[in-house]
Every structure is written in structure tokens, then in C-alpha cells.
Symmetry: C2
Subunit: 412 residues, 2 copies
């Protein structure tokens, strides 16, 4: 195991990572940072680092889960499902300014909304969600999401608020043990984007995941684009929307998935904070037709009934055994980390950038190309030792991509 850096040093490296790699803050840029109250010390370090990088202004918006609970309990539904106009204006202004948007996750209280009606807890301001989607996909801003260790999150992971132990695991996953964390992540970006380019160039028709209890073939759409590492703003500035990231991924044809997967990691249902163990999912003709599990299967079934698209795949993703998240050796109870522990698929919403020019296409156009639409997106890990992934060419030829949990040499 690498040596964990001292608290001040790791916080500094974390802030550098957020600012210099994740959002790639440039001199004169506006920075907007969303954090929970419990993330304050980390938000402060990021704000300081952003100013050091030359930010014009750093606005930090703190969320308070207790205030949110009061709203969920008392506010009229209309107040929960629509944002005020100034909030939309703020997003538009940040977009026009080409701002850097940084969001901190790391749920400090998974039980904050216990006992409240599910339809109120899941209420979102649709006008804001739509505008936010437009801005993050619009190619003018840079944005990144990363998770800030805190006692509550540590409690969910370890059963006790051992934040030092969580920092140690997060430090491994986020390469905070590297003296030059920025260079380490630039190298990771180079490696993942290289793999993504190679896969896109292959023009695969399908991918097949095989392992103990798993044999699933998923069809891809013609001209499918794989993504890995970072994204690029219209003006060429690269950034990394998720930190950490170990994956190369795309969205498949929602009508072509056949076979079975047996999860190699527990699935944490984010809203309920509940853990699903031993999940087995069966697909036929692109749809999930059966699920079984050792525990928590009802939560999965309820989610699959959310809407028409919930039972079809929105993502196929490739991660090998060199993953730093895998090396950290814990279930993080945070998808940002957990999906990066191994190869995975996700049912639900697809990514518009999985087809060339997809950012400029309407939802209807993307659906016509075969991409899935849903209000859910749940990643489930099937990768690990003994797992192979093959690419299948339009002529039926087979290209080994991951062989026994390692990228095949031509992609390494």
C-alpha cells in the first residue's frame, strides 16, 4: 500500500486535483462550487486553490440537509419541482462566462430524509435540471464532480465515523499518494482517452462480458463513440468531469442485450442507503426480464418499474484490475467511486455523446439512433478476476479487449 500523505498535504493535493485537473481552472475564470455544509474545510481549500490558479471569482453555494428536510416536509410541491428564475439566470450567466463548475459529493447523512414520502424526496426542479443538463453538455463550461470525505460518509462505509480511514481509502483511489498528483491524473487521462479512441476506431457491433455467472452480449449503435478520461470544451480545453475515473465507456443500443450478469460487488441503492448483495440480472431483447438477489431485491425491482426505459441499458463500461478504486479495497457507498472498481453496465439513461454530434441532437433523435431514455441510471459492477470482455466486429470477428481482468496488450 502506498504511504498516505499527512492531512494538510493530502487536502492540498485534493484541492489541486479538483482545480488543476478536474475543472482545469484558467486565469480570469469564474468558478462556481457546490458543497454540503459538512464539506466546508475541503470547499475552502478548493476555493483557495482556484484563486491561486487565477480565478476571477469563486462562488461557493452550501447545501444544508436539515433545511432541505424542512422544505421536503412543509413546502408546497410546486416549490420543490421548480427553481426560482434567478437560479436559471445564474446558470446561464456561468455558461456564457465559460465558468468552471465544481460539485462535491460525499453524503454526510444517508438518513437525512428518512420517513419522508418518496415522491417528495425525489422531487427535482425540472426547469433547473433541464438548464443544468444543457449547460454541462453545451461545451462552454468545464465541470467536475468529486467526493469530500466527512464523518457521516465514513459512518456509512465503516459503521463508525472513522474519517481518517475513509481519507486513506479515498487517497488511494484518487492517487493522493503521488507526489505530483496533477501529472499522475494527466497520465491517466492520456491512457483512458487513448483506449477510448482505439475502441471507437474499431467500429464494434457489440461487446460480450464473460465471467462466473455472467455471459451478456450487448449491441452497440452504428458509429458509437467511446469516452475515457476527460471531456473537451468547444475551445479545446480538457477537463475531467468525474474524479476518480478508471473507465472507458459508451451507451449501447437499448434494444440489444441478451444474457445474464452476476454482480461481483454489492450494489448500494443511493437513495435508500441500502445494500443489495448477490444480484443476478437476466436480459432478453434489450430488456431486464428477471432479477434475483440474496438481499434487497425489492429495491431493485421498484427502481426497474420507474419508467419505460429503466429496464434497458444506458451504459457499457470497461475497467480492469489495475483500478485504483479496486486497490482501495472498500465499498465506498458512492457511485463515483464504486462503479470504477471494475467493468460495469448501467440500466437507465444513456449519454448523448455516445454518438458523434450527439450533444446537438434532440432526445427524440438520440432515441431514434437506439440510445435509451430514463429518469434513472444505476451502475452495476460485473468485472473482477477471471472476467473477459470481447469486442464483436460487424463481420462477426472477435477482438479480445479485457482478458482475465486486464486490458489486452493493444489497449494497455
Amino acid at each position: 500500500m502506498p504511504v498516505t500523505p499527512a492531512p494538510a498535504e493530502r487536502l492540498q493535493r485534493y484541492a489541486q486535483l479538483a482545480v488543476r485537473v478536474g475543472a482545469n481552472v484558467q486565469p480570469g475564470q469564474e468558478v462556481f462550487l457546490r458543497a454540503d455544509l459538512e464539506h466546508a474545510p475541503i470547499a475552502e481549500a478548493i476555493a483557495e486553490e482556484a484563486y491561486r490558479a487565477g480565478a476571477f471569482r469563486v462562488t461557493v453555494e452550501f447545501q444544508d440537509a436539515r433545511v432541505r428536510r424542512s422544505a421536503l416536509e412543509h413546502a408546497p410541491l410546486e416549490a420543490l419541482t421548480s427553481a426560482p428564475e434567478w437560479m436559471l439566470a445564474r446558470l446561464r450567466e456561468l455558461d456564457e462566462a465559460g465558468a468552471a463548475l465544481i460539485s462535491l459529493t460525499g453524503n454526510a447523512d444517508p438518513h437525512a430524509f428518512d420517513g419522508l414520502p418518496a415522491e417528495r424526496v425525489s422531487a427535482v426542479p425540472l426547469n433547473l435540471a433541464q438548464e443544468s443538463r444543457r449547460v454541462t453538455l453545451g461545451g462552454r463550461v468545464t465541470w467536475t464532480i468529486l467526493a469530500a470525505p466527512n464523518p457521516g460518509w465514513a459512518g456509512a462505509v465503516f459503521g463508525e465515523p472513522d474519517v481518517e480511514r475513509l481519507w486513506a481509502a479515498v487517497g488511494v483511489a484518487m492517487r493522493l499518494d503521488e507526489d505530483d498528483v496533477v501529472a499522475a491524473w494527466r497520465e491517466q487521462h492520456r491512457k483512458l482517452s487513448g483506449r477510448a479512441g482505439a475502441l471507437t476506431a474499431l467500429g464494434l457491433d457489440a461487446v460480450r462480458y464473460r465471467g462466473e455467472g455472467t455471459d451478456l452480449t450487448v449491441g452497440l449503435v452504428p458509429g458509437c463513440v467511446w469516452t475515457g478520461g476527460g471531456l473537451t470544451r468547444d475551445d479545446g480545453l480538457t477537463y475531467m468531469p468525474n474524479l476518480p475515473t478508471e473507465e472507458v465507456f459508451t451507451s449501447p443500443d437499448r434494444s440489444r442485450a441478451d444474457g445474464t450478469i452476476r454482480l461481483t460487488r454489492p450494489l448500494v441503492m443511493p437513495r435508500a442507503g441500502a445494500v443489495v448483495e448477490g444480484l443476478v440480472v437476466e436480459f432478453a431483447g434489450g430488456r431486464i426480464v428477471d432479477v434475483t438477489a440474496d438481499s434487497g431485491v425489492d429495491l431493485v425491482r421498484a427502481e426497474l418499474d420507474t419508467d419505460e426505459g429503466a429496464r434497458s441499458l444506458g451504459e457499457v463500461s470497461l475497467v480492469d484490475g489495475s483500478s485504483r478504486v479496486r486497490a482501495a479495497g472498500v465499498v465506498f457507498h458512492d457511485t463515483l467511486f464504486d462503479e470504477n472498481a471494475g467493468c460495469h453496465v448501467a440500466w437507465g439513461q444513456a449519454f448523448p455523446f455516445a454518438v458523434a454530434g450527439g450533444m446537438d441532437k434532440s432526445s427524440e433523435q438520440l432515441a431514434a439512433l437506439g440510445l435509451n431514455t430514463s429518469s434513472v441510471h444505476t451502475d452495476v459492477v460485473v468485472g473482477g478476476p477471471g472476467v473477459d470482455v470481447d469486442g464483436i466486429l460487424p463481420d462477426g470477428g472477435v477482438v479480445p479487449i479485457i482478458v482475465d481482468d486486464r486490458w489486452a496488450p493493444e489497449f494497455a
Copy 2:
């Protein structure tokens, strides 16, 4: 001394006071709450109470002094002296919606900006300050400022972060010992606004403060309006902009002040966190012509040199010995409390509502009527045992207003 209520009870009463009396939140109203991170538990209690009062939505904006310090240290001056457009849009939207605005003070770290250049620390976004002034004086919103006890503030007051001791003092000053705190403050509003009305009706030409070391006569402008207790929105809804409040006050003729005052309480210079003891101020022809003190006189002299209006009075105010702030028996290091310990005057900016129709007049029109203009406004307490205040009528007749630290019977 009254019995201090238990922590949960006093927090509940404090929140009721903020919501039901201060901002007077109505069903369906938008509420905007500004707080420091250190005020979070109190902000949460106020948000909950506002929703219970029927608020449509409560938006809480948290300020972080460490993030502010980073900005003061690194940001271009332009970013410190102008606010982004969406912030102005937010204020306009709150104004149009007739929102309730609640601000929490109670400085958790008087040393947060130590060592930074004064001109950066005092930089304010002028566009926002102007819009904020327009909105708070515009008659469409209700607003209130109150102070939230926290360990840092307790440290400034007592030399140790004894927040329980601070809560006890705040509880006395804010009448949290009253079982029906809302009724107690409505009664206080009735009493203070009655006194203000009686003083306005008198049509005084001047007031004269007399006590040990103090004999100051201050001229008033024709048609001067006294204010006490609360303000009234254009639609008739009353609210209390400052909590606690014990004063009845107006703004004088800036060219007529002659005599001397000897402060009866120490003056805490807010920015420096420094205490000025034994301050004596001499006035001639409306202007401060000399100051002496046992300690800290340089800070006062520097402030008096800020601008042309800093040496003239912007406020004369009447408070008697029944003041709950006086009863609390501590120097709060917060003007919101300390000015309410006794009769006081303030040098610097005047209140536009000190003349009839003043809210609709320009700064030039207000100045032409005799009101003062300055970027500073510093309250200094001269009241206490043995102090008398007389009103002087245009014909030279004298009306005793405060006699030996008590309101004269016709004003009680």
C-alpha cells in the same frame, strides 16, 4: 434575573422571534436567509419555523469567512467591488415577490481578515449595495437582522468561547425568557412606535442630552419623523428590522450640534475588533472638532477622516434604563445590541425615513433638507443613570423626555 430557558426551547423562541416578529413571514411568502457557516443550527431552526409559518420557499445563503479571506487575498479588485448580474437579479426577484429577508450577524471570527490590506477588506460590490438599499427601503419586502450566538462571538465578548454564557445574555436582551416571546415583542413594538409617534407630533426643533461630562444640543430638521419598534411595508404589514430594539430615533440636521459627550459605555470598533474606552467627543457647528479617549482614540480619528460626512451626526436616539440590553449587563461587541444599552448618537450616514416621504427622495434632496451622508455610521452610547434628555420646541419651550434615565410619564 429571569430564568434562562433550556437550549431547545430558547432556540425555538429565537426562531419564532425571527420569523413571526422580525420578518413577519406570511403564508406563501418567499424567504431569503443569509447566515455564516457558524450560524447553521440557528439558520436551520429559522428555516423550519418559516416553513411552519407557511413560507413557499426558504433559500439559505451561507457565507464562509475562509473563502472570503481567499477572495480578499487573491481576487482582482474588480471582483470585490462588483457583484455578478444574477445576484442583482435575485434581489430584484425577491423584491418583486415581496419576500422576507432575514440576516444573521454574530461575528464568529473577528480576526478572520487580520493582516490583509484595509482597502481590500472594506471593498464592497457597489452595484449590489445600491440595489440592496433600494430593496430594503422600497416598501415591498420585510426584513430583519438578528445575531446568532456562536463560540467565536462568545470569545470576543468573554475572552473564552463560552457560548452558554453568551446565550444567557442574548436571552435576556431578546426576551427569550418570556413564555410568549412573540406577544412580548409585539408589546415592545406598540410601546416604541407609540413613543415615536408622540415625539414626531411634538415638532421638536432640537434635543439636548445632559449627564456627567455630557451636554450636547442637536438641531432637528423641520418635519422630522421619529421611528421606533418596527417598519411598515407599503401594504401595511409591519416588521421589525432590528432585533433586539429598545430605541426611538431619528436623523438630525447635520449642521447643528454643539457641546460635548462623554461615552457611558466602551465603543467597539467593529472592523478592528478594538475597544475604545473613555471616549469624549466635542462638537461645534454640527461637526466633531475634537476627540480624546483613554485608549483607542487613533481608530476613532482615522474613521472621522473617512469622508466629508463622517464628522457630522446621522442619528439621535433615545433609550431608557428599562432596556433589556442594559439588563443583560455585558458589552456584546455587536452594535445591534450595544447601541440599545442607552441613549446614543451616531456620526455618519442618516436615515432617509427621518423626513416624511424620504424613501422617495434622492440623496441630493435628503442632503438639501439637512440630512447627513457618509460611508460610515457609528453609534456611541451616552445614556445611563443620571442622564436627562430634553426636547426643545421651536418657541424655546423645553419638554422633558428622559428624566434620570427613565422616559417621562407622558411617553412611558
